[in-house]
């Protein structure tokens, strides 16, 4: 059962990723990324990390993707020109991607991590649920938690300043 779920989610994640890369219309790319993110949430659930899976669905597939859909609808589905600044870029890039995958696979499979071939240790039922993650975030990792909140605030202010620049120039 677990293997079936894993392979279904893996096919969904991989198909979504290939869809993002290959769709010509950015709107379909965003939809493919949503499929990818939901499949990744299933994988996170299989790895007994319920809170990360829930955050993935709520934050990514919910909020971030809505932002993408709005911007793609505003900017419009532009079509890329066929002009290539680097000759043969479309053939070189998949080769480089394959080389990167082979290199990463060699690095993983040749590593001396013996636990890679196991299911991982048996964990208690509370592993990765919101209560455990919340306790870690508010006790041991309080400073990174607060720092990330400041980072989010800075990013929001920066985005408003960036998107508002033209109106300021015309008014001044």
């Amino acid at each position: 059962m677990e293997a079936v779920l894993f392979f279904l989610a893996a096919i969904g994640a991989l198909g979504g990723a290939v869809g993002v890369v290959s769709m010509r219309n950015p709107f379909y790319g965003v939809l493919a990324l949503i499929v990818h993110l939901f499949s990744l949430a299933v994988l996170f659930l299989l790895l007994t990390s319920a809170f990360v899976a829930a955050a993935q669905v709520v934050v990514y597939a919910g909020a971030v993707m809505v932002l993408y859909v709005f911007v793609v609808a505003y900017v419009g589905g532009d079509t890329e020109s066929a002009w290539e600044p680097i000759p043969g870029q479309r053939f070189l890039a998949p080769l480089l991607g394959a080389a990167l995958f082979i290199e990463l696979s060699i690095a993983v499979l040749a590593s001396s991590l013996l636990a890679l071939g196991t299911h991982g240790p048996d964990v208690n039922p509370g592993f990765g649920d919101p209560a455990a993650i919340g306790r870690l975030l508010l006790e041991r990792f309080l400073i990174p938690f607060e720092a990330s909140s400041i980072l989010l605030l800075l990013a929001a202010v920066g985005a408003v300043v960036l998107a508002n620049r033209k109106r300021q120039e015309t008014s001044s």
Binding site: V21, G97, L104, A115
Partner: protein, 99 residues
């Protein structure tokens, strides 16, 4: 399922995302491919966290999600600013900063 499968899947997704960044020229799609790479990293982090039976990797994954959200907000703000200046949305045309 063994942890190996998750790690290999994560490296495959990372390679697909990197390939997308190399191929595509629309800034929106490049941001989408960056999301793919960040999510592949998240999958590896959560898989390693399960491998050692320790939840700290999941905290790391959540922080990566926060950073990804910030990157999306700033990146999409840049794209909207480029669009409102009537510049072409093509990373090869926007080469004023090139030496």
């Amino acid at each position: 399922m063994n942890i190996e499968w998750y790690i290999v899947l994560s490296s495959l997704l990372f390679a697909v995302g990197a390939m997308g960044i190399l191929i595509r020229r629309s800034p929106v799609v490049i941001l989408l491919c960056l999301e793919l790479m960040l999510n592949a990293g998240n999958l590896a982090l959560v898989a390693f966290s399960r491998m050692v039976g320790n939840q700290q990797g999941q905290i790391f994954a959540i922080v990566v999600m926060v950073v990804a959200a910030c990157e999306v907000v700033v990146g999409l703000g840049l794209i909207v600013a480029i669009f409102r200046r009537k510049l072409p949305l093509d990373v090869d045309s926007l080469r004023e900063l090139r030496g």
